[in-house]
């Protein structure tokens, strides 16, 4: 069922996993072409980390089959491990070792000789902007630095498939953008990236294909554009003090008028240019809205649209830990 065709990085059918009575994965199918970024999108407790753990051979599945780069995760785990790199949500660095020592440790475990190991460590320290901090114990690093070191350690062995499990959770906006750029660079090098995230924006920015996971099942799959078509798009919301203004605005701009609330919903992405144009058109008609706000769909909207409920409840979240 999970036959390897060249160009397939991950193939999985019917993956199931339960802990006691709690079903974490309820039949997950995946088919990820090599060299692409695939994003598993879902709230806490949806089962994203469990999928990563099964595909990265950390735990076994209760049912279903999965192969990674042509190797069965259950029966050829050693071959899978040799080809993948995992950067988890919880940092996997050795806090007592310095940044450089952490990288050297990885290099030794990948059986690089001393000279090659040193060169590889230096190269990655440079690439991840950790040269200055290289001699300090990793325990003293900031969150963003730890995450970068973590990813650098994953890359020491030049994996062909990288699992990034919520790589930006808990990071400040600048570090998050750094991680995005790093991810794009990886893809440019031909690496396949399996990304889990709870941020729609992140999946949108990075992924070629997105699968939405909810309560252990995939509820939607497609490109970001395809998924967005199924979600109420972003729009500009205008509020007026009187009905005549609302009516003339609706005539000029179109959109959806709510005569009770005196609001008008106009489709649009809220970019500066389109806002300026929109306001310009209102201005020529001498219409002055009381209030203007830009509404963009977030993960909750995606969930509401795709599953009919808001993101998973707290019980599921606890159970996934």
């Amino acid at each position: 069922m999970t036959q390897h065709t060249p160009g397939t990085a991950v193939a999985a059918t019917g993956l199931r996993k339960s802990y006691g009575d709690h079903v974490v994965l309820d039949g997950v199918d995946l088919d990820i072409p090599a060299g692409t970024v695939f994003s598993l999108l879902g709230p806490n407790g949806a089962g994203k980390t469990t999928v990563v753990k099964i595909l990265s051979t950390l735990i076994g599945a209760d049912g279903g089959r999965a192969s990674v780069l042509g190797h069965d995760v259950a029966t050829e785990s050693e071959a899978v491990r040799a080809a993948i790199g995992v950067t988890g949500q919880y940092s996997a660095v050795d806090g007592l070792l310095t940044g450089r020592e952490n990288l050297m440790l990885m290099a030794r475990l990948h059986r690089l000789g001393r000279t090659d190991a040193k060169r590889r460590a230096a190269e990655l320290l440079e690439r991840f902007d950790l040269v200055e901090a290289a001699g300090r114990p990793a325990a003293t690093y900031s969150g963003g630095m730890r995450r970068r070191l973590d990813l650098a350690m994953t890359l020491v062995g030049r994996p062909r498939l990288i699992f990034l499990d919520e790589p930006t959770t808990g990071l400040d906006p600048r570090s998050r953008r750094d991680m995005w750029q790093i991810t794009r660079d990886l893809v440019a090098d031909g690496v396949t990236v399996f990304l889990t995230t709870q941020y729609l924006e992140e999946a949108d920015q990075l992924a070629d294909r997105i699968a939405v996971l909810d309560h252990g099942s995939i509820v939607a799959q497609g490109t970001a554009a395809e998924l967005k078509r199924r979600v109420p798009g972003s729009h500009v919301r205008l509020r007026f003090t009187e009905a005549p203004s609302l009516e003339s605005a609706a005539r000029v701009l179109g959109g959806e008028a709510d005569t009770e609330a005196l609001t008008l919903k106009v489709p649009g992405n809220g970019g500066v240019a389109s806002l300026r144009e929109l306001l310009g058109r209102l201005d020529t008609e001498s219409i002055l809205p009381e209030e203007l706000s830009v509404q963009t769909p977030d993960l909750d909207d995606v969930f509401l649209a795709l599953t009919g409920h808001r993101s998973a409840d707290d019980n599921a979240r606890k159970a996934n830990r």
Partner: protein
């Protein structure tokens, strides 16, 4: 053949990691040495006069001679407690999850701990023995006996360390990992470590005579002070081999199960 080479190479890398940890976090090693030294000073200076007077031979220095082997064993057990703590700490960190998803010899994570702890324990034994000599321990051993005594202690340490690795793996958190091996530290007290077993009440004496630490203590005492060893030597070796093998198999089984989520 390459599998074995890889296992050895990966284990060596992991041992280097443990030694680096020891160097970065020396307080753990010092704490582990501290307890047996406190016991040593306490017993020799507080109880030594009275205990020496009660026993056959008399003075404080004789009592120092009598308890030194037991103290050395406590040192090894105390170091083993440190192993359980560091294994449990490791398991709570993401780094071991990383090791598990890498194509490395799986046993190397554990053997790194074992060899690292063995080095730590032998270092602690050397320090504690030196303190004992400073306060009146006068062994009669020649170089061969010393070598044999340290060899036996290394063997005991190897066995107890594998046991501690298993205890560190079975513990859910660092606190219980530090408590589980605690009985090991007190076993020498319920043996021939501090008083001759003949002086103990019947039930305790039976336990004292058959528990694994007693033949080890008797063998050490024989090697270092020239007392009768008899069958204690072979019993000590058998106990070490049995504990090491059983603990290794247990630890390996615990490590290979799916990690808790």
């Amino acid at each position: 053949m390459t599998t074995l080479t890889h296992a050895l190479g990966d284990s060596a890398t992991m041992v280097a990691r443990q030694l680096r940890h020891m160097q970065r976090y020396p307080s753990l090693t010092l704490t582990l040495m501290g307890m047996p030294i406190v016991f040593l000073l306490l017993f020799v200076y507080v109880f030594g006069g009275a205990m020496g007077a009660e026993g056959a031979s008399g003075n404080r220095s004789d009592y120092a001679n009598y308890i030194a082997p037991g103290i050395m064993l406590i040192t090894v057990a105390s170091a083993a407690q440190g192993t359980a703590i560091s294994v449990a700490m490791d398991m709570t960190e993401g780094i071991v999850a990383r090791f598990r998803t890498m194509a490395i010899a799986r046993v190397s994570v554990l053997s790194g701990h074992v060899v690292g702890s063995l080095i730590q324990a032998m270092l602690a034994v050397a320090v504690v023995t030196a303190v004992a000599v400073l306060i009146g321990f006068r062994p009669s051993a020649g170089p061969a006996e010393w070598l044999a005594a340290f060899g036996l202690l290394a063997l005991v340490s190897f066995a107890l360390t594998w046991l501690s690795v298993a205890l560190g793996l079975v513990a859910n958190n660092v606190e219980s990992a530090s408590n589980l091996p605690l009985p090991l530290v007190f076993l020498p007290f319920l043996g021939s470590g501090f008083v001759p077993t003949e002086t103990l009440p019947a039930g305790v004496r039976w336990f004292a005579e058959y528990q694994p630490f007693t033949p080890v203590i008797e063998t050490l005492r024989g090697l270092l002070l020239g007392t009768e060893i008899g069958s204690s030597g072979i019993q000590a070796l058998a106990w070490c081999a049995a504990i090491a093998l059983a603990s290794y198999l247990w630890a390996r089984k615990l490590y290979n199960r799916d990690p808790a989520v």
